[in-house]
């Protein structure tokens, strides 16, 4: 029985009190139904995600051998995961050597508690945050607020999400689902400034507001794109400069990372840097690649006085020990989202949880248990565009199929579907039954009303097909009948 059928508490092996990933919009079918009819969403996606997919391919072509480089990147990640205990210990040792501190969080709650404890010990009341998907996973902001600490998102898209009480709809481009009118309304209301929907003006408003916050903040919390074991460093790739601000002005820097973000050596870093921004946004590099090693050194006049690295499990070890280990290669570039025909039609919010798109269709059931997310592995045409786009070659389609196998074995797939497939196997295993079922299909389908060789309405369970398109009417004679007749007429 798959380990992912029941969510379990990694610390005690028992039932989880809370899901590992927060689920915001649980009903995939309803979400997808609404989104597939949302013209505005599709126009926004056309303008963002689809363009990013094109430009990814163009800039990857600038590399001498992008496919070969992706293979190496995937192999480095696989090697690291296979030796994760070694590399995390090495990372820990080097962070400490550089004057930093390392904390280990088994669960989301623990991670939040650790960060709150650091804040309390350092007297931090105001926190500025640069983009961190892991902090969304742990619902860190809610926990900070409950503890009387004020978090301020400083990535423009995340700021809009925060003040609009919304959720990001993409791993890298958080507010592609919003139009400038909505953004203008949210931001200008929050900042109490005259309404505008002009992007440069809105960015300027945000810049002035956040400048003030950077200056006053006690603590900066950042995500981690890569953590280098050999040097005890964390790497942040940003465009706006907010990540640098969060790790320059405040006294305390807390970096929160999923355990899988570690890479072995500094020499490995260019492999990932050359693939990350190209895959995510079509840039050769982000504007700033920031390699942070511990707090400021003696004699330096800026930079944090304390550096804390919080390493999170929250279900990752369970995935590590499963046949889905390779999902932990993910560098959160979003290329699979951009390439996915399903994501392009349903948008990020439909997936319901923190991680959308093809990688989310794997991670959400893996973190939370298959039962609560039974649509995600099935809602894929298995076109393989995600695998083709993935800079670390995660075989997403194959793992979606494996999740479906887990679901079938756990009887999460409905009984009638299992029955149909079992019967179908019987039919396909013998010539006689095959011939009989074929005849039945032909007769049955040819009885249905049709026009110009197409059937308008199929009976259940295939009604879904004809709810949106016609079905070709089977001819009176199958190929094998025609072939048999031809052979007989030859004699």
């Amino acid at each position: 029985m798959s380990a992912f059928v029941e969510p379990s508490d990694p610390a005690t092996g028992g039932r989880a009190r809370r899901l590992a990933l927060p689920v915001f919009h649980p009903d995939f079918m309803a979400n997808a139904h609404t989104a597939t009819h949302d013209e505005l969403l599709h126009a926004a996606i056309e303008n963002s995600v689809v363009k990013k997919d094109y430009v990814r391919r163009e800039v990857l072509a600038e590399l001498p051998d992008a496919d070969g480089l992706r293979t190496v990147a995937g192999a480095i990640k696989r090697h690291t995961l296979d030796n994760l205990d070694f590399y995390l210990r090495q990372l820990e040792g080097n962070v400490i050597k550089a004057g930093g501190q390392v904390h280990f969080a088994a669960t989301a709650e623990e991670a939040n508690a650790i960060i709150i404890a650091i804040a309390k010990r350092t007297g931090s009341k105001l926190v500025v945050k640069s983009k961190s998907m892991v902090s969304e996973e742990t619902l860190l902001n809610d926990a900070l607020i409950e503890a009387g600490i004020e978090p301020v998102e400083t990535d423009l898209g995340e700021l809009i999400v925060q003040v609009g009480h919304d959720h990001p709809s993409h791993l890298v481009l958080p507010i592609i689902h919003l139009r400038r009118k909505e953004i203008g309304k949210v931001l200008c209301t929050f900042l109490n400034v005259p309404y505008t929907e002009d992007p440069p003006t809105l960015a300027e408003y945000a810049r002035v507001y956040l400048r003030n916050r950077f200056n006053q903040a006690d603590m900066g919390i950042s995500g981690v794109n890569f953590a280098i074991a050999e040097t005890g460093s964390i790497v942040m790739c940003t465009n706006e400069g907010n990540g640098r601000m969060c790790t320059t002005r405040p006294r305390v820097h807390v970096a929160l990372m999923g355990m899988e973000k570690v890479i072995p050596r500094l020499a490995d870093l260019p492999v990932f840097l050359k693939l990350l921004a190209r895959s995510a946004t079509g840039q050769p590099l982000t504007q700033y690649t920031n390699i942070v090693t511990g707090p400021r050194r003696a004699g330096e006049l800026d930079g944090p006085e304390e550096f804390h690295l919080v390493i999170l499990d929250n279900g990752r070890t369970r995935i590590l020990g499963s046949r889905y280990r390779d999902t932990l290669r993910c560098i959160r570039c979003g290329a699979c989202l951009n390439a996915c025909p399903v994501y392009r039609k349903v948008g990020g919010h439909s997936y319901g949880s923190v991680y959308p798109g093809p990688i989310g269709a794997l991670l959400t059931p893996l973190f939370n248990g298959l039962g609560g997310h039974k649509h995600l592995p099935h809602a894929s045409s298995l076109c393989g565009a995600c695998y083709e786009a993935c800079p670390v070659k995660i075989n997403i389609p194959e793992m979606l199929i494996e999740l479906k196998e887990d679901m079938a074995k756990a009887h999460i797939t409905p009984w009638w579907e299992r029955a149909v497939f079992k019967l179908w196997t019987l039919a396909l295993s013998r010539s006689f039954t095959y011939g009989l079922s074929q005849k039945m299909q032909q007769i049955g389908l040819r009885m249905l009303p049709a026009s110009e060789g197409f059937i308008k309405r199929l009976p259940p369970p295939a009604t879904g097909w004809t709810s949106v398109r016609d079905f070709p009417r089977p001819p009176k004679e199958s190929f094998r009948t025609l072939y048999k007749n031809r052979q007989m007429s030859k004699k």
Binding site: P64, D85, R207, P270, D302, T317
Partner: protein
Amino acid sequence: MSNRTDSAGLGGIGGDREGFFGRISAALGREGKAIETPAVPAGHPALDERLLRQVSVGDASLVERWVQKASGNSMVVRRVGPAGVVGAIDECLGKHEISSLLLNAEPFGTSLGLVEHLAGKGIQAFCWGEAGCRDRAFTANAAITTCRYGLADAGSLVVWSEVGFGRSSTLTAAVHVVILRASQILADLVDAFARVAVEAVDGAGMLPSNVVVINGPSKTSDIEMQLVTGVHGPKYLYVILLDD
């Protein structure tokens, strides 16, 4: 590796370290050996530079490529000989209303007498290292800095923090002027890290607290994918490329 535990002085904030590593070891099939530090793993994939390197050291016109790429990244590049540095600085700054300027550009600051020169232009310049420079950096309109390398593959600049060079210097002012010597231009990002590992490390072999690869002015496209320059980092990035 240090013997200090991660939770030293934090009253147990550190979390259950042994439990954490125990779960990883179990997941990797190393049950019962959780406490041992595993041996250095074999099997790190070989890195074939041919897959990775876009520009080689021996390639002609590294400088030309750097200029082309940097300009494409919205850096404004001015190529000058040693005598032209001050004039180029004046030209770049002249496009803006500058009242306060951070200087972090030794030895140029002293050798060119920049503080006095800028004062003559009505610009109050202060140096990184002076009292109060950190806070003044936050409100300065402009900054002039040196940098460590230029990278020809993508038109990047590399800087790192140290006692005499601040993180803020290349971050906080809206107008950032960089003095880059042509001899500092390396071929590729691959070379940058190889050099950093040798040139930037301290006596204990540690990297500087903050190494930054800069690829242009700060920007965002979060709002309907429309490009806006100058968010939290510099909006205008000038590079004075000194032929040497």
